[in-house]
C-alpha cells in the first residue's frame, strides 16, 4: 500500500508538472518498469485523476481538474495537518491501530495523538471501536483517503503553520 501510494503520487506530480508527458518519458524520468507504470496509469485514469489523449505518435497524459465534494474537502482539510496526515497514512498501511501503536508510529505523545484521533473520528474520517479499555481506529473509506493523498500537495502556508505550531510545542514530540 505504502509503495503503491508513493509511486502513484510521484506519477501524478510529474504529470501535473509536465502536462502532456508521454509513457516513454514517464518511464525514463520516474525509473519505473513499464508494466507497473501502465497499471498505475490505468488505475489513475479509472479513478478520474488523470486523462490521456492519443496523438499521432504518443499517448499523452494530463491531470484532471476535479471539483471536490464536501466529504473530500473535509478529508483534504485534515491531510493539510501533518500529524493527521501521518496518522492516516499509518492507518491505511496497517488497517487498524490503537492510540499507543499510532503514538509510536508517528512519534508524538499519546495525548497529542488522541487529540487528533478524536478530531478525525468526530468528522467521520476514521471509525473508533472500543475493545475492553482500548480503542481501535480504522479509516472509514480507505480508497478515498488513498486517492486524495495522491492529489494532496503541501502548500508553503501549511508548512509555515506547522512550523509555528511546532515552535509553541502544540504537537508534542515524545521525550
Amino acid at each position: 500500500m505504502e509503495v503503491e501510494l508513493e509511486t502513484r503520487k510521484r506519477i501524478y506530480e510529474l504529470i501535473r508538472d509536465s502536462p502532456g508527458v508521454h509513457l516513454r518519458e514517464l518511464t525514463r524520468r520516474l525509473d519505473i518498469v513499464i508494466g507497473s507504470l501502465q497499471y498505475n496509469l490505468y488505475y489513475m485514469e479509472k479513478k478520474n485523476m488523470i486523462y490521456s489523449i492519443k496523438d499521432e505518435d504518443y499517448v499523452r497524459y494530463f491531470v484532471k481538474d476535479r471539483k471536490f465534494g464536501k466529504n473530500e474537502r473535509n478529508i483534504l482539510f485534515f491531510l493539510r495537518r501533518t500529524p493527521c496526515r501521518h496518522i492516516l497514512i499509518n492507518l491505511l498501511q496497517n488497517g487498524t491501530m490503537n492510540n499507543k501503536e499510532l503514538s509510536d508510529a508517528v512519534d508524538l505523545s499519546p495525548s497529542t495523538v488522541s487529540w487528533h484521533l478524536n478530531k478525525l473520528a468526530g468528522s467521520g474520517i476514521i471509525t473508533k471501536e472500543k475493545v475492553g479499555r482500548v480503542s481501535n481506529f480504522t479509516v472509514a473509506d480507505p480508497e478515498l483517503v488513498a486517492e486524495l493523498l495522491i492529489l494532496y500537495k503541501e502548500s508553503f502556508l501549511d508548512s509555515l503553520l506547522d512550523s509555528f505550531i511546532d515552535m509553541w510545542e502544540l504537537d508534542k514530540k515524545k521525550r
Binding site: 493539510r80 499519546p110 484521533l117 479499555r133 505550531i165
Partner: protein
C-alpha cells in the same frame, strides 16, 4: 515623515507584528486551539502597540495619551503570552 532610522525600525516592527498575528490567527483557524487564540491575540495587541508607536511619528502632540495606552497594551501582551504558556488543552484520551 520618516526621517530617523529608529522610526523606520518602528514601522518595520509594526508590519512584522502584523505578519506574526496573521500566521498565528490562521493557525488558530486551522487547529481551533485556545492556546493559539491567546497567541494570536497577543500578537494582535503587540501590532497595535507598535502602530501606536509609529503613530507618534505622525502625531507627536498626542504623545502622553499614547504612552498610557502603550503601557497598558504592553501589560496585555505579556499577560496573554503568560496565559498561553499555562493553558492546558483538555484531551480525552479515548480510553
Amino acid at each position: 515623515m520618516i526621517s530617523e532610522p529608529d522610526q523606520l525600525i518602528t514601522i518595520v516592527s509594526s508590519l512584522l507584528a502584523l505578519v506574526l498575528f496573521s500566521i498565528s490567527f490562521l493557525a488558530y483557524v486551522r487547529e481551533r486551539r485556545k492556546k493559539l487564540l491567546l497567541l494570536s491575540a497577543a500578537f494582535f495587541f503587540y501590532a497595535v502597540m507598535n502602530f501606536l508607536d509609529a503613530g507618534d511619528i505622525y502625531y507627536p502632540r498626542v504623545g502622553d495619551y499614547l504612552e498610557v495606552w502603550g503601557s497598558l497594551l504592553n501589560f496585555v501582551v505579556l499577560a496573554l503570552f503568560f496565559l498561553a504558556l499555562f493553558t492546558k488543552e483538555k484531551i480525552d484520551d479515548g480510553s
